[in-house]
């Protein structure tokens, strides 16, 4: 019983991380109609920043991580997203594919294929024992942080004028501009928030996911792919549905890897086939509801392409 509770809690934590990444991807998609495949490389850059500064104080190291990721986000916006403003969603997706690959190869050349071990705050990986239940602190912290980010973002989007402008620009950017909303300013803010979330993920991921303790050039790539798929499956048009999509994928991955046996000779019978199981599910969902699992409208922007 307690074992199941632990697995579920871990799955919720993984879902929270994926949900955070989904927010980062969904925010930028909202204002730019751009699916950023290179989002994982922002996390990767942040993780390298953390890994290379482990000898300085934790606070400074984290601050550096945020600085690097924010600068890189801004550079992406200026050098790539802006020239691509009017391209089709698929062209933009392929372009960010190229950017992702470029950043990976830079990391490969600069830091090598052998990973760097990263532990940001060792205390957080220790378990908390409640009765017979052992939960790592980071699991709880992750869930709380994700909930906090989601709440803060909701407040930002509904209570502040720039947040309101961001929502308007996501719905209809031309009309928003005709009301005096500065599109580039709104986009820059969205890109920066999305970058800050990537930096946050870079801090949390190596602690929360044991196999992500090693920072490599393709760091967070697998997560990005699954989140991207989740975001589209959930419904990329709206931040809430996109986030739910990301969370669901993370939860599924976490739960399945906890409950499936670790070996089996046929596909889908063990946790090594986790990706297959998840992607098959995705294909089925896309076929049944191409407009998104959690959307209510029948036709979405995704389908109009």
């Amino acid at each position: 019983m307690t074992e199941h509770v632990q697995t579920l809690l871990d799955a919720v934590a993984l879902g929270s991380i994926y949900g955070l990444m989904a927010i980062g991807i969904g925010l930028v998609f909202g204002v730019l109609r751009l699916v950023n495949f290179a989002y994982g490389q922002l996390v990767m850059a942040g993780a390298y920043a953390l890994a290379l500064t482990q000898d300085v104080s934790v606070v400074l190291s984290i601050a550096l991580c945020f600085a690097v990721v924010l600068a890189l986000s801004l550079a992406m916006e200026l050098a790539a997203f802006r020239p691509l403003r009017n391209a089709s969603p698929t062209t933009m997706l392929v372009a960010t594919f190229a950017i992702s690959y470029l950043l990976q190869s830079i990391a490969l050349v600069r830091f090598g294929a052998i990973g760097k071990i990263l532990v940001v705050i060792p205390q957080l990986t220790k378990p908390l024992t409640i009765g017979s239940l052992h939960v790592r602190w980071i699991t709880i912290v992750t869930i709380l942080v994700a909930a906090g980010v989601f709440a803060a973002l909701t407040l930002f989007l509904t209570r502040t004028s720039i947040g309101l402008q961001m929502r308007a620009a996501s719905i209809d950017s031309e009309t928003a501009r005709l009301l005096g909303v500065r599109a580039n300013a709104v986009i820059t803010v969205a890109v920066l928030i999305s970058g800050a979330i990537a930096a946050l993920v870079a801090v949390i991921l190596p602690m929360a996911v044991p196999e992500r303790i090693l920072v490599t050039p393709d760091y967070a790539l697998r997560e990005t792919i699954i989140v991207l798929v989740g975001v589209v499956v959930g419904g990329i048009d709206r931040l809430l549905t996109a986030t739910l999509g990301g969370f669901t994928m993370g939860f599924l991955v976490g739960a399945l890897s906890g409950f499936l046996p670790s070996s089996g000779s046929w596909p889908f019978t063990s946790s090594v086939y986790l990706d297959s199981a998840v992607f098959m599910l995705v294909i089925v969902v896309l076929l049944l509801r191409p407009e998104g699992l959690f959307t209510r409208s029948r036709r979405s922007v995704v389908d109009r392409v």
Binding site: S161, L164, I171, T175, R177, L178
Partner: protein, 242 residues
């Protein structure tokens, strides 16, 4: 400053717009003086909406000059033009149906030149359109057509523009509501806002405006005064060419 007041607040000179190689507007000149209501009428496809779009910068002018208070705004981004004092009530209203009435109004504040006085501006609009205050928490998509039109006008007004451009505000509204809209426009002018009104309802507009330009086939044909609203022959001649 008497000199500044004498200059037209909005001046368009030799405006030309092309869609590909097809000219949509040719050599259009028009002027709007401070405090005036100026009409712009013409048949479908005459270029009325294109004129407004060229002024707010959503279509590119291939020739000519657009001056706001004597300063050229041609070629600037729409949001910049709006922020320098041009308010637009777009065709089809284009309110954000998924946002509340209040949020729609607050969005209009993006076009303000100064951050001060936003609260007063919202108050002013709520006074002008009491229905907006009553339904401020409702989703704008739930409003009736007439209420949505009031919201679109109010949303442009909270930016306190020098000139308010309206693109067919009476389109799709019942006659009694059209009356109300025109009445509101008069009230808005009384508050010192200059108005450039694009309309299909020709006679009504000519009678209502201080001056009305007639546009046909992308060219200005004539200017009519309120007294000429009954002069159907001249209008027909202008619409269909002489």
């Amino acid at each position: 400053m008497p000199t500044a007041d004498a200059a037209p607040i909005l001046q368009v000179r030799g405006l030309e717009v092309r869609y590909g190689s097809v000219p949509a507007l040719r050599d259009v000149d028009l002027e709007v003086q401070r405090g005036e209501i100026v009409g712009l009428i013409g048949p479908n496809g005459a270029g009325k909406s294109t004129t407004l779009q060229a002024i707010v910068g959503t279509v590119r002018a291939s020739a000519g000059e657009i001056l706001l208070g004597g300063v050229s705004i041609r070629g600037q981004a729409p949001e910049r033009i709006v922020r320098s004092g041009v308010g637009l009530v777009p065709e089809g209203r284009r309110i954000f149906a998924a946002l509340t009435v209040e949020e729609n109004l607050r969005l209009g504040l993006a076009g303000r030149r100064s951050k001060n006085g936003a609260h007063e501006a919202l108050e002013m609009v709520n006074e002008l359109f009491p229905v907006l205050r009553e339904s401020r928490r409702r989703h704008a998509g739930l409003l009736s057509g007439g209420q949505q039109q009031q919201l679109a006008i109010g949303r442009a007004l909270v930016a306190e523009p020098d000139v308010l451009l309206l693109d067919e505000p009476s389109l799709g509204l019942a006659p009694t509501i059209v009356d109300a809209v025109f009445e509101k426009l008069g009230a808005i002018r009384d508050r010192g806002v200059t108005i450039l009104l694009v309309e299909q309802r020709a006679q009504r507009t000519v009678a209502f405006a201080d001056r009305t330009y007639v546009l046909a086939n992308g060219e200005l044909r004539m200017t009519l005064g309120p007294g000429e609203a009954g002069d159907t022959d001249r209008m027909v001649a202008a619409y269909f060419g002489s």
